[in-house]
C-alpha cells in the first residue's frame, strides 16, 4: 500500500531522514521507535505533506502521494499538537475538521457521532473542548484523524502526557483501526505501547532504520542474553577499562558516568564481572538483571535508552 524509497530530508546540517525506505501493507500497525531527534516526526510530517524540500519518493497504491491532492482524503493525521478549536465543542470540532475532506455532510454527522462513541466522548459532545481533561483532548485529537475513514493513519506520539486510562483507550482504538484494514504508523517513546499494539516495529535513529520486524524477530537480535544494569559512582572510562577483556559473553551496551548496561550470556558471569569492577576500583551501588525485551534491543541498537 505505501512504499517509501530513499526519503532524505535535512534541516541545515542536520540530516533528519537519511535515505529512509519502508513498505507498509494494508491493516498493518507499525510502531516507530527512536530516541529524540531520530527523525520520527520528520517522517510523519513528510508523509502528511507538511514538509518540503526533501528527496526520495513515496507512493500510495502506486501513485505519487504528493502529486495528487485527492489522495489526502485517504490519509488521516493525528499530530502531536492538540490541533483543534478549544472554544468549540467536540461535535463542532469534528464537523469542522471533517468538512475539510470530501465527505458528504450527512455522512460526516453520522460518522462524528460514531467516533464520539468510540472515543467515549458522546456524553460530552456539546461541551466546549476547553473544559476537557488532557486525556479527553487526546482522544478527540485522535478521533479527528479518523473522521474521513482514512486508509493510512499517521499518529505522532498520540499518547504523550495522558493518564493510563486514556492511553489504554487510544491504543485500543489503534488496534481496532488496524484490524479493520487501515494501515497505521505511530511514533512513541513507550516500548510497552509498541509491544502490545504493533504488528511490526521499526527502530530508527539519525534518520535511518536500525532494525525492523515483529517483537520476536527484534528480540532475537540481542539473543537470549540477560541485561545487567549497573549504577554507582564511577567514571565511564574506568568502567570500560575494568571490563576490558572480560570475555565474549559480556558486552557493554551503553556506559556513562555512574551508569552502565551490559548484555551477559549467563547469570553465572555476574560474580566475575563484579570482581573485575571491584579490582578496577569501580564503586557499584545497585545492580539489576533484566530478561531480553524491546528495551534491550533498543539499547543495543541505539546505545541509548528511550529516556535519552
Amino acid at each position: 500500500m505505501l512504499e517509501i524509497r530513499n526519503l532524505t530530508k535535512s534541516y541545515g546540517d542536520v540530516l533528519a531522514l537519511d535515505r529512509f525506505s519502508l513498505d507498509l501493507k494494508k491493516g498493518e500497525v507499525l510502531g516507530l521507535l527512536g530516541p529524540n531527534g531520530a527523525g520520527k516526526t520528520t517522517l510523519i510530517s513528510t508523509l502528511a505533506g507538511t514538509v518540503r524540500d526533501f528527496t526520495g519518493t513515496v507512493s500510495f497504491e502506486g501513485r505519487n502521494l504528493f502529486a495528487d491532492r485527492s489522495l489526502k482524503n485517504r490519509l488521516g493525521i493525528v499530530p502531536q499538537d492538540m490541533a483543534f478549536y478549544d472554544e468549540l465543542n467536540a461535535m463542532d470540532n469534528l464537523l469542522f475538521w471533517g468538512g475539510l475532506y470530501d465527505v458528504p455532510r450527512a455522512d460526516l454527522k453520522r460518522r462524528a457521532g460514531e467516533l464520539l462513541e468510540l472515543v467515549e466522548l458522546a456524553g460530552r459532545a456539546k461541551e466546549p473542548v476547553k473544559n476537557f481533561s488532557g486525556g479527553m483532548k487526546r482522544r478527540l485529537n485522535t478521533a479527528i484523524g479518523l473522521l474521513h475513514k482514512p486508509d493510512l493513519l499517521l499518529l505522532d506520539e498520540p499518547t504523550v502526557g495522558i493518564d493510563v486510562q486514556a492511553k489504554v483507550s487510544i491504543l485500543e482504538i489503534i488496534r481496532s483501526i488496524g484490524a479493520a484494514g487501515t494501515a497505521v504508523i505511530f511514533t512513541t517513546h513507550q516500548l510497552a505501547e509498541v509491544e502490545t499494539t504493533c504488528s511490526r516495529i521499526v527502530i530508527m535513529d539519525h534518520g535511518r532504520i536500525l532494525a525492523q520486524g515483529t517483537l520476536d524477530e527484534l528480540v532475537r537480535i540481542v539473543g537470549e542474553r540477560d541485561i545487567v544494569e549497573i549504577t554507582g559512582e564511577f567514571p565511564a572510562a574506568a568502567f570500560s577499562e575494568a571490563l576490558q577483556g572480560a570475555g565474549a559473553g559480556v558486552e557493554i551496551l551503553s556506559v556513562a558516568d555512574d551508569h552502565a548496561s551490559l548484555a551477559v550470556g549467563a547469570t553465572e558471569e555476574i560474580p566475575r564481572i563484579m570482581d573485575r569492577l571491584f579490582r578496577g576500583k569501580v564503586a557499584v551501588t545497585d545492580l539489576k538483571i533484566k530478561t531480553p525485551g524491546l528495551e534491550t534491543v533498543f539499547l543495543k541498537l541505539t546505545g541509548r535508552s528511550l529516556r535519552d
Binding site: T50, R52, P79, D81, D92
Partner: protein, 414 residues
C-alpha cells in the same frame, strides 16, 4: 471555494461562541462616543443659551426703577432672562452661593436723580464662576442706561417744568398749570408710544450660508461626527484580532493539520481575508446601527454609507493580511499592531479633530484609513458621494492584498 466558505463559517461560529473580545471592542467606541457627546454636546436642543438667572434689587421703587425692572419682562428679554426681585442682602447671599449669573442693584433715589439729570450709578454684581452669562446682563444694563439717559434728555423740558411745579409742598402744587405741561409731555409720549408698543426694533436671528459654514452643532450632530472616527479605530482593532488566527493557527499546529487535508493554501488565505472583511463590515454596521438608535447619529444615504463601510472593512482586512504575513508571531503582532492603530487614529483624526492639528500632522493623516473614512463619512452625511475616499480605500486595499497573498502563501506552505 466550498472549503473557504466552510472555514469562514467556522470562524464566525467560533467568534459567536466566544464573543467577549469583539463585544468589548464594539462597546468601547460607543461608550467613548457617548461620553464625548455628553460632555461636549449643548444641553438644550435648538437654543444657544439657557435662561440667564438675574437677581433684581429695587431700592428706589420709583418710576424709572420700575421701567428698568420691567424691561426684563419684555418680549425676547423674557426668554433670555429669568428674573427674581429681592432685597440686597438676600441677593448677595444668593450670589455667594452661585445661584444667579448677576445681581442688579438699583440705588435709592435713582428716579429722582434721573429726573434731575444727575449722574446715577447702577450696580451689577457678576458671578465669577460663569464665563459669559454675567457679561450679557452687564451689556443689557449698559444698553438700558443709555436708553434711559436718552429718554430723560428727550423729555428734559417737560421734566424740568413738572419738577419745578412739584418741588414745593403738596398743598402748594399749582394743579391748574400742570395740565398744559403734562399735555406737552403726553404728545411726545404718544408720538414715542407707537415706537415702543409694540417695539419697532426687534431682533431676528439668521445665519449666513457662506462657503465652509457648518451647521449649528447639536447633540445628534456631535455624535454623528465623533462616531465614524471611533468606529474606524475600533474596526482596526477588531479586524486585527479576528485575523490573528492566521498566526495563532500556525503556532498551535492547527494550520499544519489543515495542510494535511485537501485544503489549498489559497483557499485558507481567501477564507481568512474574507472573514476579516465580512466580520469587520458586520461589526462596523452594528456600531453604526447602535449609534443611530442610542445617539441619533446619522450616516446620510444608507446605500452610499454601506459602500463606504464595505470599502473600509476591505481595506482593513487587506492591510492586516499583509501585516500578519510580515510579523513573526502572535506576540509580535499584538505588540506592533496597537501602536500602529493608535498612530493611524491620532494622525487620521479619530482622536483629535484634523483641523486642530499642525499642517505636517494633517499631511501624515492622508496616509491613514481613518482620515479617508472620517472625511468620506462626513461627505456621505452631507448627501455627497465620497468618490475619492472610496477609490483610495479600495485601491490601497487591493495593493495590500496583492502583496499579502503571496507572502501568506509562503508562510502557510509549511
Amino acid at each position: 471555494m466550498r472549503r473557504s466558505a466552510h472555514i469562514l463559517l467556522n470562524d464566525v461560529r467560533r467568534h459567536v461562541k466566544a464573543p467577549w473580545a469583539i463585544l468589548i471592542f464594539i462597546a468601547i467606541p460607543l461608550v467613548m462616543t457617548g461620553l464625548i457627546g455628553v460632555i461636549f454636546a449643548p444641553r438644550t436642543e435648538g437654543s444657544e443659551l439657557p435662561p440667564i438667572a438675574v437677581l433684581l434689587v429695587d431700592n428706589d421703587k420709583g418710576l424709572a426703577a420700575k421701567l428698568l425692572v420691567s424691561s426684563f419682562d419684555v418680549d425676547q428679554m423674557k426668554e433670555m432672562f429669568q428674573t427674581t426681585v429681592t432685597d440686597e442682602a438676600d441677593g448677595r447671599k444668593r450670589m455667594a452661593k452661585g445661584k444667579a449669573s448677576a445681581l442688579v442693584v438699583i440705588p435709592e433715589g435713582f428716579t429722582l436723580d434721573l429726573l434731575e439729570a444727575r449722574p446715577v450709578t447702577l450696580l451689577v454684581v457678576k458671578n465669577p464662576a460663569e464665563q459669559f452669562l454675567p457679561d450679557i446682563v452687564e451689556e443689557f444694563m449698559a444698553t438700558m442706561a443709555v436708553m434711559l439717559s436718552g429718554v430723560v434728555q428727550a423729555f428734559a423740558e417737560e421734566v424740568r417744568g413738572i419738577r419745578a411745579m412739584i418741588d414745593g409742598p403738596i398743598d402748594r402744587i399749582p394743579w391748574e398749570t400742570l395740565g398744559p405741561e403734562f399735555g406737552k409731555a403726553q404728545k411726545k409720549i404718544a408720538a414715542a408710544a407707537k415706537y415702543l408698543d409694540p417695539l419697532l426694533l426687534r431682533l431676528k436671528e439668521e445665519e449666513t450660508q457662506a462657503a465652509g459654514a457648518r451647521p449649528r452643532i447639536t447633540a445628534s450632530h456631535l455624535f454623528s461626527e465623533i462616531l465614524p472616527g471611533m468606529a474606524i479605530m475600533f474596526l482596526l482593532f477588531i479586524v486585527q484580532t479576528l485575523m490573528r488566527d492566521l498566526l495563532s493557527d500556525r503556532e498551535d499546529g492547527k494550520l499544519r493539520r489543515m495542510m494535511t487535508t485537501p485544503l489549498r493554501p489559497i483557499e485558507l488565505i481567501g477564507a481568512r481575508i474574507a472573514g476579516g472583511w465580512i466580520m469587520g463590515l458586520a461589526v462596523l454596521l452594528i456600531m453604526v446601527a447602535f449609534g443611530a438608535l442610542v445617539f441619533r447619529a446619522t450616516v446620510g444615504p444608507f446605500g452610499t454609507f454601506l459602500l463606504l463601510a464595505v470599502a473600509a472593512a476591505f481595506w482593513t482586512a487587506a492591510f492586516f493580511a499583509l501585516f500578519h504575513a510580515l510579523v513573526r508571531n502572535r506576540n509580535q503582532a499584538g505588540a506592533v499592531a496597537a501602536p500602529v492603530i493608535l498612530a493611524f487614529s491620532i494622525f487620521g483624526g479619530s482622536m483629535i479633530n484634523v483641523e486642530a492639528m499642525p499642517k505636517a500632522f494633517r499631511l501624515i493623516g492622508i496616509l491613514t484609513p481613518n482620515r479617508w473614512y472620517i472625511d468620506s463619512a462626513a461627505l456621505v452625511r452631507d448627501g455627497r458621494f465620497p468618490l475619492v475616499g472610496l477609490i483610495v480605500l479600495v485601491a490601497s486595499g487591493l495593493l495590500f492584498l496583492a502583496l499579502a497573498v503571496p507572502a501568506l502563501r509562503r508562510r502557510i506552505s509549511v
